[in-house]
Symmetry: C2
Subunit: 557 residues, 2 copies
């Protein structure tokens, strides 16, 4: 057999022959299916490995020339990739929003690739298109709760859409603001509309100086990206109330008046329902009032917190979301679907027409191709994962998951408050909270009558300690909390580095949470940053008590 | 056990217990693994099912209340979803760019979900970040072929990136043009740059009336979407040479001069390397010359054709691509990776800094988080699929696949030309071609000395026939070709409806191609549109021969 023939046979096998049952890849699969947790704990190496040393395994830009056998390759995949991945399934991985997933997603992932549909158009997706429309309808129903007649009319209407499925919350936010922008600066006599004529012409036609967005400082970074992308400019994303966690409706009112007086137009108010950093929820209902008064778009970024609507106990926290013109949801967060399932929902099914587009070979006028109103083009059938989860977990299953996460976060907050070395920085609104480790003596110093400058100095040393603990804990690989920086009112708005915790993994128990605190105290105890901040605190307390003694002495004299 | 406890147990099982080996879902999985082709041909019902009837299965927007057992649910999934999906694996499905995939992707899909990494940041992806950077490096190398030293310097550099991985070509095109726009209208003394200040201010600062993009009329519809999204307006995407298949560099030169004279600025020339409709490739090298002369950005949309670079035989067709400032590639097209693997590559690793952004809790300055320069936020680890394919198929495997596809397309073109009832409309440049069925008598009429109006009338009837055949063939479910509309020079630029064929599936044989033609002639034979166009042709020929006879008679008199 010639080389070419051999290569051809190899290729043909790759496309038509499954791997042998004893092959490495089949064994990986079997292990995943039998016991995902065991697979991960065996193969993900829980030890300090520097990024630089991992990079060495991925250091060449040369293309592999000759084909490799799948099994040989799979061995390498285990050693190089899986070994140094992050165990997001682990119940002690509570630093970000990715967590354990239901088992059935493993099988569905295989089905998804086996079917390999493209949802941009019906010709390459068929039943997946109605399915995705139904999923959007169900989520629309969860948020807006319109009548049966409403959904009957719009669910499968070619000229309407209840939302856009997309890869994630960033694209969802962009899609919503894109629709808002194109609606706001639409066609009018003598002007073709921003879609066709562009933003500069639109500003001239509408006599606008700048077009702006308002959100709290805790708004997701994708809002600034959207302002950039859409041509409004990052400076026109105005984050108000820098000293508070949520957006104050009165501040928006005041801002909007000033903004308009300067010849600008407020495009949208963005309320956040569950900020990524602290979980706070803006006062949505009051913000909806302001948007109504001002006649501007109201968008709610509920990428994280949207699933709270499944809970009868907690959904009131999002009151007013049903008045939003558009809402962002991420099913890959609290709906426990694999990465890549975002949605932008629209209250009015006609709104998405503001970004409708056609092509000759697909998305023809009057077709039901989903691609006609999405920002993305070709997309896979991730909606099947959401559909399946909605069925297998049901509304009541999601309710239980949400309730449990919030309960656990509240318990964890109590644990932190009760612990002599920890300080809770932000209370959990949903299942996110922030805290830090503050040695007891340092706590005393912070409470003592020391100067603001001294407090700031102490906080800076605690920041260094927090950062060091977080890095060590991450690198040790047993557990993971993230860190962020927050300006905190109690400390004169000093910017503090804090641990950030997201309680979402249903497998996380109170014992896990307790072990994370223990590990942090153990790591801290031997860190130079710990000794340093304690020494500073000691000095400050001494200085303070000397001055108190002096004051007492002076009072006696 | 109470209801709540039962629900809790169900939930816990869903997250921790694999499906039983005899469960429906396990059986689906096993079947997929053992014989994907058989699974699809058994479960995908190859019969006419109207979209409306499929929609009935997905008609309610009510949320499922109670949890369902996975196996009961899986049965429904087979009946409602899989049954009415499109068999993209089938070798007779040659209408779009989705095709059979190598088997190992089924297992990898499961691994991907099992690991569920989020590539926006290293903290949730670790080894996947260097892996994705390596994949971008390899593809960059394929396109630009820079030195080893270059890749050593930039592959893992925190402040540089060789490209952005994304969900598909649309996002890749948007990313590239976003970078181009932000570079073009960057900061300068007295101006903060478009990123911060927005487009309207940028036009004022740079004294620009409009900012435009030039492409051929065959440019992908995502270019218009990008012009809209980025605030330039769809009218500022200028498609030149409406009567030709590719973009004429001289026409661009002429246009750019006029455009500048009107106070406008040309942002970018977009060359297409493999148009989605016909596979044509713009003269990239000459367009690069023009871009250089004009000092504007040169982007190449090689979403479809980029993989041609693997072939030493055919890569010269893309000569000049290595001069592009940015290039779009889709691995889910001719690289046989599942849906969701697009890339925007940048010649200069500093360019992506034009869209760099940071956040407090991730993407910190100096970090290697991939999310700092991507349009999307959270993303899954699809780069692993590209990485694996590059290893298992190798450069030589891809070369063989590309060569074979082009060979097959050329053979198919010969088959069409040789067939008495078919007309080849566009020759295959790569592996795309268009054609139509024209009954023999109709061919005669078109060749006869009939008026242009009569030709147009005939073409309109053939259009109706083409549309009817395509729909019937699609609905019959055995095979699938797509259709599009093209203005064709040979017919005075009449807009013709044509069959569009994409030969990419390695499993497609000449016998399959032949059977598709046979099926089309069989479908056509009994269509009223066939009879109608034949009758018209007959009349026209009669009229024509009468006038010829009259002319001959008059000549004799």
């Amino acid at each position: 057999m010639s080389n070419a023939e051999a290569s051809l046979e190899h290729l043909f096998r790759v496309f038509t022959m499954p791997e042998h049952k004893d092959s490495t890849l089949s064994r990986i699969e079997q292990h995943l299916s039998d016991n995902l947790s065991d697979f991960l704990s065996r193969h993900v190496v829980a030890k300090k490995t520097s990024l630089e040393s991992i990079e060495k395994d991925f250091s060449t830009a040369s293309l592999p020339q000759r084909p490799e056998f799948v099994s040989e390759f799979a061995d390498q995949l285990l050693d190089k990739l899986v070994a140094h991945s992050v165990n997001t399934y682990a119940p002690t991985f509570i630093g970000h929003m990715t967590s354990a997933l239901p088992y059935f997603h493993l099988s569905l992932a295989k089905l998804l690739v086996g079917l390999n549909q493209n949802l941009v158009k019906i010709e390459t997706s068929k039943a997946f298109t109605p399915l995705e429309r139904q999923v959007l309808g169900m989520m629309h129903n969860l948020v807006y709760g319109k009548s049966d007649a409403f959904y009957e009319q719009y669910l499968h209407s070619a000229n309407h859409s209840l939302g856009a499925f997309c890869s994630g919350g960033t694209i969802a936010n962009m899609t919503a603001l894109w629709v808002a922008r194109n609606k706001c600066l639409g066609p009018k006599p003598g002007f073709a509309g921003v879609t066709k004529a562009g933003l500069a012409s639109a500003y001239r036609a509408y006599g606008i100086n700048e077009l702006g967005i308002v959100s709290s400082k805790r708004g997701h970074y994708s809002l600034a990206k959207a302002a950039d992308l859409l041509g409004m400019g990052r400076n026109n994303l105005h984050t108000l109330n820098h000293n508070e966690q949520t957006l104050d409706p009165d501040a928006v009112r005041t801002f909007a008046k000033q903004y308009a007086a300067q010849g600008n137009q407020l495009l949208a108010i963005v309320g956040v329902a569950g900020t990524t950093e602290t979980g706070h929820i803006d006062p949505l209902d009051e913000l909806a009032d302001v948007a109504e008064e001002l006649g501007c778009w109201f968008h709610v970024d509920a990428a994280w917190g949207g699933a709270t609507l499944f809970s009868d106990t907690h959904r009131a926290k999002l009151k007013g979301i049903e008045r939003a013109d558009s809402v962002t949801l991420d099913a890959h967060k609290q709906m426990y679907v694999p990465m890549g399932a975002g949605m932008a929902l629209f209250k009015d099914p006609k709104h998405s027409s503001a970004v409708r587009h056609h092509a000759q070979y697909i998305l023809r006028e009057g077709s039901k191709d989903l691609g006609a109103t999405t920002l993305e083009g070709s997309r896979n059938g991730m909606a099947m994962m959401v559909y399946s989860s909605l069925h297998v977990l049901g509304k009541s299953g999601y309710e239980l998951l949400i309730d449990q996460s919030i309960d656990k976060a509240q318990h964890f907050a109590q644990m932190i408050t009760a612990h002599c070395e920890f300080e809770l920085v932000t209370e959990p609104t949903l299942s996110l909270l922030t805290y830090r480790l503050v040695p007891q003596d340092v706590q005393k110093a912070l409470l003592a009558d020391i100067s603001d400058a001294d407090k700031t100095m102490l906080n800076e040393q605690i920041n260094a300690l927090t950062k060091a603990i977080q890095k060590q804990q991450r690198e040790a690989g047993k557990s993971f909390v993230s860190r962020t920086r927050l300006s905190v009112q109690a400390y004169g708005h000093d910017c503090l580095t804090v641990f950030r915790v997201v309680i979402a993994n249903p497998l996380t128990t109170q014992a896990h949470l307790s072990s994370i605190l223990t590990e942090q105290t153990e790591i801290a105890a031997i860190l130079p940053e710990y000794t340093a901040v304690c020494k500073t605190a000691e000095k400050l307390i001494k200085k303070c008590s000397i001055s108190t003694e002096q004051a007492t002495l002076q009072a006696h004299l």
